[in-house]
């Protein structure tokens, strides 16, 4: 059988990717909205429904950040509710290994797996962010360079607990004495996802993950990433087929490519509206810029010294350093091109990975990705709910099915089966 594409959706939680201002969107925070989307995804034969994690409400200069959607349920609790309201879709919770107790988290995930008849997944993330740690008894305790060591020990302890029986671990990073309380599910244990893109993250994925999320959704990057990961898999004696690669992406569909491009530009202008442009610069300047005109020149005041405020939680580590250099570059760019604050931010704020075009164009593109084994599928972040999901299910999925790269019915019942992973 030729390789097939696997799709998931990252349900909206926080951040500027979601266009809450759009008149078409309905309240995405109610249980009814979650159930409706999960059931639509089942109609579209998706593999999985994902919830992200952010354990501190994002801030701007010490106050809750007002411009993006925020406020979300506890992931495993919400997915347990969805387990009771769905029949096929995989239910994946992002949960970090720093601010959880291994025995407690392993048990909650096993419970979700059992309640759903073998549809649970765990997206393992690490964090050493002491700012987030301020919400926890055991906050800010883990050194940055040891975060994957802790994650590895944590995942190994969880897998031991899922295998049944009594488990003891007494290291300086994982200390527990427990016993399995949940019987194995039809898929054996929750499917393990891993999202970190650093060398430590890739190594953890190669050792322990069944699926990786990557940030590499462009063709060349995806090919290189897949090659790197398969090499690492071999190091741990695993077959190249024992790991699925699902990069994150957005989709903007149109009746014509031009219409889709126009729609995507319109979305970007909602995402980066004048208020967000000011807020974006405030993050770097570290000071109140609300008195500046978004359509006017860049602030003439000097930025507050020190590194970037981590409190937005959205920046990669690379973007947290060297802010003065970045501001100097932006000033030059704005001067050379005569850009206002708003225009500059539209130009420099990174774009989300997006597939933009007609359903037929995107289906062709994705078919190539999957036939070349550059990826095994995509994990989509909807910009509008419910319309992005409705459009993908109603318009893109049939095109993929026509090309023979997407299932036409669920053949199995577990997430592991949906992902076509080898049995444990």
């Amino acid at each position: 059988m030729s390789p097939r594409l696997h799709l998931g959706v990252f349900y909206t939680g926080v951040g500027n990717n979601y266009l809450w201002q759009d008149p078409s969107v309905t309240d995405h925070t109610t249980i009814e909205a979650f159930v409706r989307i999960a059931r639509t995804l089942e109609r579209g034969l998706f593999d999985a429904f994902f919830l992200g994690e952010g354990l501190r409400v994002r801030e701007n200069r010490g106050r809750p950040f007002a411009l993006d959607v925020a406020g979300r349920p506890d992931a495993i609790t919400q997915l347990s509710a969805l387990a009771g309201a769905t029949t096929h879709i995989g239910l994946v919770a992002t949960q970090n290994t720093t601010y959880n107790f291994p025995a407690d988290l392993a048990r909650r995930l096993a419970t979700l797996d059992s309640l759903s008849g073998g549809r649970a997944g765990w997206n393992v993330v690490t964090t050493d962010n002491a700012w987030t740690g301020e919400n926890f008894r055991h906050g800010g305790w883990l050194a940055h360079e040891r975060r994957y060591e802790r994650a590895t020990q944590f995942v190994e302890a969880a897998k031991a607990i899922w295998a049944g029986g009594e488990v003891e671990r007494h290291t300086d990073l994982v200390d527990l004495s427990t016993a399995a309380t949940v019987p194995p599910s039809p898929q054996g244990r929750p499917v393990v996802f891993q999202a970190g893109d650093s060398a430590g993250g890739r190594d953890l994925a190669a050792r322990h993950a069944d699926v990786v999320f990557s940030a590499n959704a462009t063709y060349d990057k995806a090919v290189a990433y897949a090659a790197d990961l398969r090499e690492r898999l071999a190091t741990y004696g695993r077959s190249p087929d024992s790991l699925r690669i699902l990069p994150g992406a957005s989709v903007v569909l149109g009746d014509t490519d031009a219409e889709a491009i126009e729609k995507a530009e319109h979305h970007r202008r909602i995402q980066i509206n004048p208020q967000r442009a000011i807020a974006f610069l405030e993050q770097y300047w570290g000071t109140d810029l609300s008195g500046y005109d978004p359509d006017g020149p860049l602030p003439d005041v000097e930025p507050v010294d020190g590194e970037l405020d981590p409190s937005r939680g959205t920046l990669s580590v690379a973007d947290r350093t060297g802010k003065l250099d970045r501001i100097r570059e932006w000033r030059e760019l704005a001067r050379d091109k005569n850009l206002s604050i708003h225009q500059l931010v539209l130009e420099v704020q990174p774009r989300h990975s997006s597939f933009i075009g007609t359903p037929s164009r995107i289906a062709d593109e994705w078919a190539r990705f999957v036939r070349d084994r550059a990826v095994d599928g995509f994990n989509l972040s909807p910009q509008l709910l419910p319309s992005t999901v409705d459009e993908v299910v109603d318009r893109l999925v049939p095109e993929l099915q026509e090309r023979g790269v997407y299932r036409t019915s669920y053949e199995g019942t577990t997430l592991r089966e949906h992902l076509e992973l080898p049995p444990l």
Partner: protein, 276 residues
């Protein structure tokens, strides 16, 4: 009869879903889900918040109150879990505050010791950390939420601190119902007792085993306590649902668990009021 009846479902084992549906049909006020991070002798047990949440969309009237220990769960996660259950049930969530044994504490490497009163305090503060009208979705100003209505809780306890706010907006009940053994000394809405007592403040629920004279016992208790929590053994559920509970004419439930218990929806401690 004005006696409220709650039901512990632990002994239903894997049949917990059926048992909760049956309890809902006969008019039980709320069900509880006892829990432990360790397995019961020779058996299995699913985690309690998961069990309760699984039934959120499968039930519509009965209160769902999982047992969650204060020492083996991070208070921040605990607050988000119960708040999420309250959202998913449109206001039918409760929390049975549990203490832990030494063996249970070992599952988290010993923990910080017990401080149930502090954990209840911080959980309650976190439930209030978003005001009810914090999400404003004001397209004109670009504001999804009003930052003046989302608050740090800045909790400082004897052994730990929590900054806040919670990641989850304020639950529909404002404060989900906190249920605790009376001797735990926490700020509870319902206290569980082993002997009828007269006390001011929280509602008093008497812990009761299911015995053949249960109907008479319940008649006798009416007016002496606010309610009872029944602890059926595995083979008691049949009789309870077929005979004992249908004969009781239990008080009607309200739209939320607080309403069922006659509790008002509390004001938010952080609300500043006034025009903003």
């Amino acid at each position: 009869m004005g006696l409220l009846v709650a039901l512990e479902t632990d002994r239903a084992g894997a049949r917990f879903g059926e048992v909760v549906k049956a309890a809902e049909e006969v008019g039980v006020a709320f069900v509880t889900f006892a829990d432990s991070p360790l397995p019961p002798a020779g058996g299995f047990r699913l985690e309690a918040v998961g069990r309760a949440a699984f039934l959120a969309t499968r039930t519509s009237g009965v209160g769902l109150a999982p047992g969650v220990p204060t020492a083996t769960t991070e208070p921040f996660h605990l607050a988000a879990q119960i708040a999420s259950l309250d959202h998913a049930t449109h206001g039918r969530a409760g929390w049975v505050v549990q203490r832990s044994t030494a063996a249970e504490l070992a599952t988290v490497g010993g923990g910080d010791g017990e401080s149930p009163a502090e954990v209840v305090r911080v959980v309650r503060a976190l439930w209030d950390s978003w005001e009810d009208d914090a999400v404003v979705k004001d397209v004109a100003t670009g504001r999804y939420l009003d930052p003046d209505r989302v608050h740090h809780v800045d909790f400082v306890g004897t052994a730990f601190t929590v900054k806040g706010p919670l990641i989850t907006p304020r639950p529909p009940q404002g404060q989900p119902v906190v249920i605790a053994p009376a001797d735990l000394g926490v700020d509870a809405d319902v206290v569980l007792v082993d002997e009828p007592v007269d006390r001011d403040g929280p509602l008093v629920f008497l812990e009761l085993a299911v015995t053949p004279d249960l109907p008479a016992v319940l008649r006798d208790l009416d007016g002496r306590v606010d309610g009872v929590r029944l602890h059926p053994a595995e083979d008691d559920f049949g009789t309870l649902f077929a005979d004992v509970l249908p004969a009781l004419d239990l008080p009607p439930r309200g739209a939320t668990l607080r309403a069922t218990l006659g509790l008002t929806r509390p004001a938010n401690r952080f609300a500043t009021g006034g025009v903003r």
